[in-house]
């Protein structure tokens, strides 16, 4: 089942997407049709924009996760890392607000990217240099980041300076030509991710390392560097998500980003990326993130399901989507 870099490269030339990769998009289409039947307001402009904008966080983080997972790794720390980056960012912005005014937002954003990249690098280096299972490493850092944000907020909430609030709000709530800014930011991240994974040597090496690290090593691929870089990309994606997240509610709390890692991994896997590595699907990941958000939205919009059973129905839909995907191959 392992796919060599040559095969991946061959597949790239037949881009756009092959029929067998269309699974997640078919699933998304089915959910959209069902949703429209259940409640007409599901496809109303406001609702569609809400759902897509909301899915931006998981989508952006999941782009990074696509690199980590396709290169044979796993990152459980993304939700906690997002909360931690958010906290650092708010503290920096609040500290600089009196002297820099709105400029503090730019410095805070830049700092977020640096912190995110460093957090990712830490994960990556412990995995590759320390030679420890990524599951264990990121389980550890997940706890560390979560504890740090709880410590930074004293268990309460860490709000952004009121003066910065209005200047920063448009990053989540604003729009350009009717398209909300978070959607534009995710599009940029998605396009960069797709270019990096499908069009560059690094992308092909990612898949090769994930498919078979030994073979990749003998072929002269610097396995540790490729894997570490995947975690750094993940960290940067987390930071971008944090930059979009802060203006939404204007605060970091100990529950920020809780359990997002599971949503992110689910989105990546629904999208067709192999959890054991060797195959990455950027656009599939995006469809996966949209599917998750659309299902959650539909659960509220329909009156079919008892509030106690919502999570069960979500679980069933995800499993069915995966089965459909498997059998359409």
């Amino acid at each position: 089942m392992s796919i060599t870099s040559a095969q991946v490269a061959a597949r790239d030339r037949s881009w756009p997407i092959r029929w067998s990769d269309a699974g997640p998009f078919i699933a998304l289409a089915v959910i959209l049709v069902l949703g429209a039947l259940v409640n007409p307001s599901f496809l109303s402009e406001t609702n569609v924009l809400n759902v897509v904008t909301r899915s931006a966080f998981v989508a952006i983080i999941a782009i990074g996760a696509t690199f980590v997972i396709s290169s044979g790794g796993l990152d459980l720390s993304v939700g906690s890392m997002m909360a931690f980056v958010t906290g650092i960012m708010i503290m920096i912005m609040n500290a600089l607000a009196p002297s820099l005014g709105s400029g503090a937002i730019l410095v805070g954003g830049a700092a977020a990217l640096v912190v995110g990249a460093l957090c990712g690098a830490a994960n990556g280096l412990i995995v590759t240099v320390g030679r420890i299972e990524p599951f264990i490493v990121t389980l550890g850092t997940m706890g560390i980041f979560r504890a740090l944000i709880t410590f930074m907020t004293d268990g309460g909430s860490l709000p952004i300076d009121r003066g910065l609030r209005d200047a920063y709000r448009p990053v989540y709530f604003g729009s350009v030509l009717g398209v909300p800014i978070p959607i534009l930011i995710s599009l940029v991240v998605i396009l960069l991710g797709a270019f990096l994974l499908y069009r560059t040597k690094y992308g092909r090496r990612c898949a090769a390392v994930g498919a078979n690290p030994e073979v990749a090593r003998f072929s002269g691929v610097p396995v540790a560097r490729v894997q570490t870089l995947a975690y750094v990309i993940q960290g940067l994606c987390v930071a971008v998500a944090a930059i979009c997240y802060v203006p939404r509610l204007g605060a970091a709390t100990p529950t920020t980003g809780q359990l997002w890692e599971l949503q992110v991994i689910t989105a990546v896997v629904i999208g067709g990326t192999a959890l054991r590595g060797g195959k990455g699907r950027i656009w599939g990941t995006v469809a996966g993130a949209l599917i998750l958000e659309a299902i959650a939205n539909l659960m509220v919009l329909s009156d079919l399901v008892s509030e106690y059973l919502v999570a069960a129905v979500q679980g069933v839909i995800i499993i069915v989507a995966m089965l459909v995907h498997r059998f359409t191959k």
Binding site: S41, F42, T46, N50, G155, S157, L249, A251, T253, Y308
Partner: protein, 318 residues
């Protein structure tokens, strides 16, 4: 022989040391406080108020030593109880149990050693263990909010409700609320879980707004969630929503109440500072022999602009 003598000498010295340590503490009555670690806003408030109470009581009553221990899980709390009792003689234990079932046995063990037991908020499965029980009234939190809302809406209208994490606390609030609303012509359009989480409340409110073209009022059964709800309403630009109410008395919401906010004119307290009530009362038992055995149920009066000052703790994280 030589080794034996040395060991004996050492043991004697050690014993003497332990004895001095013990007498140093003998003069003081130890009140142990075991509470959950700060994992969200409300427990953050509990930790803050417990720390305040520790300082205040130790300053006021030099004969009392308050020992504070926070635990991140029920299992950790059981271990904490063992540590607290193993290392010293404790006169009283003030405990906010993580879960009722898991902590009942361990607290009973502590009680067997003759310790005075004060239980806060979540009751144990066997109430006969506690000497003093201090709690808020979750049913009143729901009912008082519902009564206010019904009065303001004139007994008519369509509302949506956001509930927290499936627990007894959440069930009681919803029960208190719906019982009052059932007696009016107000229609509850929808009730869904948002897990006492700002983010989830934000998305749920967006969905409610998409689903229902007209909503008169919203009740989020916790102020943390209310913040998410308010953000979603603001973003939607919808103006027909006359009231968005919460509960718990979070400082950000109290500030709104103080500022006569038209949409959020009130809150209801379920104060994390109840831990302070419990510690103070327990101290009274030991310092002044003031009898405190019994049950204290804190009421949930409406927080209005007139009395908001009494419920406002600007330095608390909650």
């Amino acid at each position: 022989m030589n080794t034996f003598a040395r060991t004996a000498g050492l043991s004697a010295a050690l014993a003497a040391l332990i004895a001095t340590a013990a007498t140093a503490q003998d003069g003081k009555t130890v009140i142990a406080v075991s509470i959950p670690a700060a994992t969200h806003g409300w427990t953050g408030g509990v930790v803050y108020h417990a720390e305040q109470a520790e300082q205040e009581i130790e300053a006021a009553f030099p004969d009392i030593d308050v020992v504070l221990k926070t635990s991140p899980s029920a299992t950790a709390q059981v271990s904490a109880l063992e540590d607290l009792t193993a290392s010293q003689e404790i006169a009283a234990l003030v405990i906010l149990p993580f879960t009722s079932e898991e902590l009942t046995g361990p607290v009973e063990q502590v009680k067997a050693g003759g310790t005075f037991i004060t239980v806060v908020d979540r009751g144990l499965t066997d109430p006969s263990i506690q000497d003093l029980y201090v709690a808020g009234n979750n049913i009143a939190v729901g009912a008082n909010t519902a009564e206010y809302l019904a009065e303001q809406l004139g007994g008519e209208g369509e509302i949506v409700v956001l509930r927290g994490i499936p627990t007894v606390i959440d069930d009681e609030r919803i029960q208190g609320f719906t019982e009052v609303i059932d007696g009016t012509n107000i229609k509850i359009l929808d009730i869904q879980y948002a897990n006492w989480n700002q983010d989830e409340a934000f998305t749920l409110m967006q969905d409610y707004l998409a689903k229902y073209p007209h909503i008169d009022a919203v009740w989020a059964n916790d102020d943390d969630m209310l913040l998410g709800v308010l953000e979603a309403i603001e973003q939607s630009g919808r103006t027909e929503i006359r009231y968005a109410l919460g509960g718990n008395g979070m400082k950000d919401i109290i500030e709104k109440v103080m500022a006569n906010d038209p949409v959020t004119p009130i809150s209801t307290p379920y104060p994390p500072s109840m831990i302070k009530t419990a510690i103070y009362m327990t101290a009274a038992q030991f310092h002044g022999q003031a009898p405190v055995r019994g049950t204290v149920l804190l009421d949930a009066p409406l927080i209005t602009p007139e009395n908001a000052e009494q419920f406002y703790f600007p330095d608390s994280p909650f």
